[in-house]
Symmetry: C2
Subunit: 339 residues, 2 copies
Amino acid sequence: MGAEKRRGVQTIFYEKPPVILGTGSVAGKKESEGPIGSYFDVVAEDNVLGEKTWEKAESAFARRAASEAFSNSGVAPDKIHYLFGGDLLNQCTGTSYGIRDFGIPFIGLYGACSTMALGLSMAASFIDGGYADFCAAITSSHFCSAEKQFRFPLEYGGQRPPGAQWTVTGSACAVVGSDGEGPVIDCVTNGRIVDMGITDANNMGAAMAPAAVDTLLHHFKDTGRTPDYYDLIVSGDLGLVGKSVVVDMLRKTGYDLSQNYNDCGLIIFDREKQDTHAGGSGCACAGLTFCGYLYKLLKEKQLHRLLFMATGALQSTLSVQQGESMPGVAHAVSIVVPS
Amino acid sequence: MGAEKRRGVQTIFYEKPPVILGTGSVAGKKESEGPIGSYFDVVAEDNVLGEKTWEKAESAFARRAASEAFSNSGVAPDKIHYLFGGDLLNQCTGTSYGIRDFGIPFIGLYGACSTMALGLSMAASFIDGGYADFCAAITSSHFCSAEKQFRFPLEYGGQRPPGAQWTVTGSACAVVGSDGEGPVIDCVTNGRIVDMGITDANNMGAAMAPAAVDTLLHHFKDTGRTPDYYDLIVSGDLGLVGKSVVVDMLRKTGYDLSQNYNDCGLIIFDREKQDTHAGGSGCACAGLTFCGYLYKLLKEKQLHRLLFMATGALQSTLSVQQGESMPGVAHAVSIVVPS
């Protein structure tokens, strides 16, 4: 016994790679108007799905995304052994209120914007470990609940500096199974916390970038792969600033990311036309971009090998007010189409 | 493949039960004056370990508890493959700032006061699954940071109703391994979210009790065990009110918990002498009671079979203000001394 599957220092290789059987994606109006807007399963034109508060809306998005994922994967909720999920609302209420009625054993996660990759890695590990036939991973974020909680009241109309990102409104859910048709998770690299001392809460891409670099370096070292192994490498929501930091830092270590690397925050919005400054962010940024868009490219075999790495900044408003820097974490999931 | 280890509907049985190799416990002054005060590894007489804010203090408690656990287990941090943890501060900063310097791959959890049991279940699953040789589980809470965040400023001097509980100040960490001497985790039952519509945030024991009952019933059904299989069954922090609800509800289903069931919130404080109303609560309540006290009884073979079930209430202040009820969850870990 012991860590026989953990051949790399930080990477788990699955003996029988778990299959992503289906996804659900529910997006807000602005997200539906972006470059990948036509891919989402459901668009909430009112941004609240009829709910009276932004927080209840975020939970409604999560409930709907889970329902879509169950339906699209053909796996009923009572067949799902564990649901892994979380979000950035205080005490992760977006998720827990959203999924409370499904009656699925619930493993609450906290990974900030890395939650979709963290959830996929946990789901795959529980399936390959023999603990479950089916698991689900879910996350959500909402521009209005996030601005209210983390920044300023919307009514205040605060100016946003150029490095600021725009929280994505939406929820995404994936169902993973031990058997079936679809792209598979062949290995995952869960990350360590990296804190380079950045304290500007309007520059989270730069705060998370060193964690992304740390996870990528471990992934390449553990797997023996180089960036060109993948058709596409995506980070979660580093945005324009963080993306350039990652490319620069990796170049210095001998890895060239200039050809096939992008960031979900730059995929989901058209920065210039949609006035989102440095790009999208929030748990749903990586969630929607993967579940709504990239998963479908994998299904259609337009992509064959994807490294999906979502990144999270682990500060709170209070920790920043108390002068703390922002620790980052990044979790990477390798998803391939069986040949 | 598939869920071959998951013989019960909601219970994972481990093929080679992971061993709890050592624990670390750091407690506040009030906790050190309670019935189990002499068992804790470290007591912070100043309640802040020299830090300037309660939140920084909570992280310092976590850092110290992890160090104690690494030392007591004889497992250095660079041997630990994954650290599972979380807490109740917004964005779980107690944990992430506390453990950021250890460089261990970090799986952030959100289980509110159920976090210690949730972390132990994840650690055991990752070890039995072959993904790790050593894992750690950690959690923390602090009376002052919790009152500030969830209730009233301490200076306000608000009266506490009789059903209110007292947040435990402390942090607890356990190191779990694939081999070695010590009590083992033979199976775990992760819980579903149960929401019975309770909206009184000063009566969280009652809100969490139905989730505890749901998890206990699944555990007994999945394992074929009855309550008398265990020397002791403990819930996390239901307190006096929630404990009586659990005993009553289980009696109606034919299970007698009157002989060997207690609650960590009633073990850690002397309710009458220490003026803690319905008992202790907070992530550290179950954490400290298990890692600081019950683990040592298992090591000394004063206990042979323990069902450690921590319970969490998943609301936020905002969700309660918006009229939402409080969903509960409970995770149960069966810990036995090998004969």
